[in-house]
């Protein structure tokens, strides 16, 4: 497997930002009460991640080492505010539902972490692939979590009734403790996939030596 593909695939499973690196969890647990929120949040997050990583990687030689953090924050904050404005203008309902979590993308550790650890040292194309991989890794965990939570906790998906009428929604799943439980299940599921993946002959070498 060539190096490009492996950069992209790292974020999906092996270094999944939520299930393995475990950063940016607060907003992930808070917004996954409904699928619509999960989709909106992951799209916004992926957009900010990709644009910030690409721009920072593009300017990496012009960013002085000692003021890199303020510059990263300026760039991330600018893109986040753009997302916020665009959502307010064209998807007002979604923007209302997401509330404070969109502005909070600025301080989301995933973006800061990837920018600092990856984009500021790598080429633009690698940074783009890393951001896309990380963004999609974030997306699949977030959307699957919200599907589980909305289905069990409310009997619906995207607001459409899926469970039979007689189904009594298990509120627990929509509440914070349910969020933790579902998230824990996804961590173990992801670890299982990671194990399978790293064992297979064509697998990607695991920098940490497996779990």
């Amino acid at each position: 497997m060539n190096q490009r593909t492996s950069v992209f695939l790292q974020g999906l499973v092996i270094e999944n930002p939520l299930a393995i690196i475990m950063i940016g969890l607060c907003s992930a647990l808070a917004v996954t009460t409904s699928v619509a929120n999960g989709i909106g949040m992951s799209l916004a997050m992926t957009f900010v991640l990709v644009t910030s990583e690409v721009i920072i990687s593009l300017f990496r030689k012009l960013i002085p080492e000692s003021v890199r953090i303020p510059i990263f924050i300026i760039i991330i904050a600018a893109f986040t505010t753009m997302v916020d404005l665009v959502m307010k203008a064209y998807f007002p309902d979604l923007s209302k539902a997401m509330g404070v979590f969109i502005p909070l993308i600025v301080v989301n550790c995933i973006i800061m972490g990837r920018v600092e650890a990856f984009a500021s040292k790598q080429s633009v194309s690698n940074a783009f692939l890393d951001a896309l991989g990380m963004g999609l890794g974030y997306t699949w965990v977030l959307i699957s979590m919200s599907v589980v939570r909305e289905l069990l906790g409310n009997g619906t998906i995207l607001g459409i009734q899926i469970m039979p009428e007689a189904y009594q929604p298990i509120l627990f799943f929509v509440l914070p403790p349910g969020g933790f439980l579902v998230f824990a299940l996804f961590i173990s599921f992801n670890l299982f996939m990671k194990k399978k993946w790293t064992k297979s002959p064509s697998g990607i070498s695991d920098p940490e030596g497996g779990n």
Partner: protein
């Protein structure tokens, strides 16, 4: 030393102004759209409460809240032609998780016309049912939580479990929302009676 600091400062300033420029462009495109969206949402909400109204006047400054925790955000006098239909009050107050925003319509005779939940982030399945049009506090008569306020006098006590039916397992939400409706109703009827006296 000073030279290198100056250089860092200039670099930082350049990045900041670049970001500002980009933001200004996005804002100039989205700003007007956001404004019309907000206006449309307000119009729709007001029309929803007073369907026959064809004009409204901002009277926010004329109304005062009798409860320091509850703030009247906007108030509108609703008219159909020259006829005064009533007052719509948008008010916010603390609920179970964060602040809730309600829009309450009050008829000129001091009864409540309609209550709409504009913003509520209480527990899904419990407090959030206040805004659910398919959740009935009175299942036999199919009356929703906000529906029970229709026709209620603004001088009523608005006490949960007494003259207001609660949402199951969400007493705090029920109590907070009833209080917002009560305060909105009081403020609006005070305004209406002042206006009635002046005419």
């Amino acid at each position: 030393m000073i030279k290198s600091m100056l250089k860092l400062g200039i670099v930082l300033a350049l990045f900041a102004s670049g970001a500002c420029g980009a933001l200004a462009i996005v804002y100039s495109i989205t700003g007007p759209v956001i404004k019309t969206q907000e206006e449309r949402a307000l119009n729709a909400a007001l029309k929803d409460i007073f369907p026959t109204a064809d004009s409204f006047k901002d009277i926010t400054r004329e109304l005062t809240s009798s409860d320091p925790k509850i703030e009247i955000l906007n108030a509108y006098e609703m008219k159909e032609g020259d006829k005064l239909l009533g007052v719509a009050v948008k008010a916010t107050g603390p609920s179970y998780s964060t602040n809730a925003i309600l829009l309450t319509g009050i008829n000129t005779d001091g009864t409540i016309k309609q209550v709409r939940v504009l913003q509520l982030s209480d527990t899904p399945g419990l407090g959030a049912n206040a805004a659910n049009p398919a959740y009935y506090v009175d299942k036999a008569r199919k009356i929703t939580f906000t529906g029970q306020f229709i026709g209620k006098k603004t001088t009523d006590p608005f006490i949960v479990k007494d003259d207001v039916q609660t949402l199951t397992a969400a007493t705090i939400t029920s109590r907070s929302l009833s209080e917002i409706v009560k305060v909105s109703g009081e403020a609006a009827s005070q305004y209406l009676s002042r206006k009635g006296g002046a005419q």
